[in-house]
Symmetry: C2
Subunit: 164 residues, 2 copies
């Protein structure tokens, strides 16, 4: 009866297998680092890494299932009828997202982006984004990421990246 | 040494887990049926079901891995720098693609499209596409498929569908 009620009220939680998540993120996921001018930062820039999966709102339950699986992040409107699952917290990225994709590697070239994304987060853990030299190192990595692969959804979500 | 040589010559075959395929197809796959005017058919129309996965050419090895997994279909240029894995053979669709996605159900709303796609193939197996009544039944199903979900890649690949 409980399950029936959950189904009726759309509360039924889809259970996701690790390999399904890898396949879906190989198709729909995005690992992105934006470096934006920011007056309050000593080095003048803020580094913002984020992991995103965008879907039409008809499949918002899948985004909630990803959120439940990783135990972090938010599900928000992205653009018009598109929704996004998004993780921005550095600790969540380092402790939940990165270990998952290290244990279950992506099979497309998106894995190259993921490994660069991980490099940036490791540098940030050491405070590299707070020094001019460290920031230069991070910008060198981000300049080589997502070249020509960034989706329109992503551009709308994060604004025009300044790195390209 | 054999593996090294295969890696060097790009012959290394990516092995795909069933759930990875489900996740990837949930994101990138398309089940489509086009109904096109055709002078040589008694009923005046040809029914063409096809399963497609489109990717940037940088990930063509994934499309070849899908082809190897299903043991049918072709990998072809789709549009500009995009490639497509495509299965059009009715027997291959009925005996390889449909049983796979019946055993490993899609988790997004794409499963609704898949089940309609399957209905059309079962009708075609009974020869429904060769009679006026059967064709009407098929067109009723296809008219409710892929509404607003068809990608630009897909439109380029198959031409403008006459059903919408």
């Amino acid at each position: 009866m409980e399950i029936l009620r959950d189904l009726m009220f759309g509360r039924y939680q889809v259970k996701l297998e690790a390999q399904w998540i890898v396949g879906f993120v190989d198709g729909e996921g995005c690992f992105h680092v934006s470096v934006n001018p920011h007056a309050e930062m000593t080095v003048g820039f803020q580094v913002l890494p984020e992991f995103t999966v965008v879907q039409h709102k008809r499949d918002v339950q899948i985004l909630h299932a990803l959120k439940a699986h990783f135990g972090c992040g938010v599900v928000r409107v992205n653009h018009q009828d598109r929704m996004a699952y998004r993780v921005r917290g550095q600790e969540h990225l380092r402790e939940r997202i990165i270990p998952f994709f290290m244990n279950h590697p992506l099979k497309t070239k998106k894995n190259v982006e993921f490994l660069k994304f991980r490099d940036v987060l490791f540098l940030m853990e050491k405070g590299a984004h707070l020094t001019a030299d460290g920031l230069a190192e991070i910008r060198k990595i981000t300049a080589s990421m997502n070249r020509g692969t960034i989706s329109q959804d992503k551009v709308r979500l994060i604004g025009k990246p300044i790195e390209r």
